[in-house]
Symmetry: C2
Subunit: 259 residues, 2 copies
């Protein structure tokens, strides 16, 4: 039997900060056919709130260092304001959405990252996705909206990168659905020349990624994004796109990583 | 056919602020038999956060005045920190909990309160409880955890009193379940003498409530609480208790309002 289609859309960065852009993103999400899941970050709002509260945000290698005070702020900003604003807007568009952290329904279980050279604090590395409960929600016609918070099932909330959550959700659900992952952000895709917004790569192979990483064409936040994209493909996700708003509904816009 | 039992437990005030008390409350909640729903406020944490952010909290007749900045703060404090902390702790206790606002699953639809003598701002008066979706969750073995945020289905989040949410949930679900409502707070029940913690009224009839209100024995925050309690009884809720932590598991502790 042919598997049903599932799209997992991750939105991040500036798309969350401008009302008009968020509205566009959510309308495109609602118009997607088949089962769908939204995953969102909310980094800059959390950083702004930290500043207001005199907590200095720390970021090492693109990952936020999450002390107890920062965990409280990111939980408030992601699971509180960003998540519920998105859910209310989706409901207004007629989409039966449900906001979730990994703690809700024990949907995403993680463990606090082990001490390495850097102590990331209350950052969670995912152990397990509760595919059964997520499938139950999808079958009920519900569109889950995940924010970047997980838990350890021992009562501790944890901060987890939203791209990683999206890639792990897609990978875990790939056996049950024809799964498509879209990592959507403020640019139109992976740029060959960071200064030229039009230089979007149509496709990127894993070997090219390694090459571009070495020669410095691809750097910063794009490396973990592409790592997540290739991880998902290796785990059986059908298609991955790195794209801007236009790429949500149109698969010809954006960069398609390929193994 | 005999209806199945549902307990709706509302917790508020100081019970949310002390870890040891919250732990006790949640253990008692988990041990309740039958279907169950938790409803929580979080007023003092929100007020503290408002102060940190230089937003002066305003309260008139026991109800918070919710301007746009305050709505953001209460959504962060209630739907973000309080709700997800509770959900993570319940998951640690083996309870399959799911944190919700009224926007999630369109569970509680409200409208912005009409201008009267006071402009309450983004405060929602409840129009409708989505009993179908809540029953689906309960049938799946899920314990919903509601915070004091609703929405208008047009994209606007709204602040709604947690006692009122609990009473309206109980009333709406009373046709489907043998429904019990517990309004739990830091005192052991309704006190005959506010200075004597032991002077708990075992029962209070509606006529006595009116009398005690006139003679000033019952005042302040207790009046809307009892209004909600009697409303629920009038709507077919089987039993209502106003109680402290001990009253969650033991119905002999606390005050039972009766029509």
């Amino acid at each position: 039997m042919k598997k049903q289609q599932l799209t997992i859309l991750k939105i991040g960065g500036k798309l969350l900060e401008e009302d008009a852009k968020l509205e566009q993103v959510l309308q495109a999400f609602v118009s997607l056919e088949g089962f769908k899941i939204l995953v969102h970050g909310g980094g800059k709002a959390a950083s702004a709130l930290c500043l207001h509260l005199n907590i200095v945000p720390k970021v090492v290698k693109g990952r936020r260092i999450t002390d107890a005070a920062t965990l409280k702020v990111v939980t408030m900003a992601y699971a509180g304001w960003a998540n519920k604003t998105i859910v209310a807007k989706l409901q207004a568009l007629g989409c039966q959405s449900l906001g979730l952290t990994g703690a809700d329904l024990n949907a995403i279980q993680a463990h606090k990252r082990e001490l390495e050279t850097v102590d990331y604090g209350f950052v969670g590395d995912i152990d397990c996705i509760n595919t059964e409960v997520i499938r139950q929600l999808l079958e009920l016609g519900i569109a889950p909206v995940f924010c970047a918070i997980t838990h350890d099932k021992k009562g501790q909330l944890l901060n987890t990168n939203a791209d990683t959550i999206a890639a792990r959700l897609a990978s875990a659900l790939a056996p049950f659905f024809e799964t498509r992952l879209k990592l959507c952000f403020e640019k139109q895709g992976v740029l060959k020349n960071p200064d030229d917004e039009q230089s979007v790569l149509e496709r990127i192979r894993h070997s090219e990624f390694k090459l571009h990483q070495t020669n410095g064409v691809i750097s910063d936040g794009m490396i973990p994004k592409l790592d997540n994209a290739f991880y998902a493909l290796e785990q059986g996700v059908s298609e991955v796109f790195i794209c801007g708003i236009e790429g949500i509904a149109n698969s010809k816009k954006g960069t398609q990583p390929c193994l």
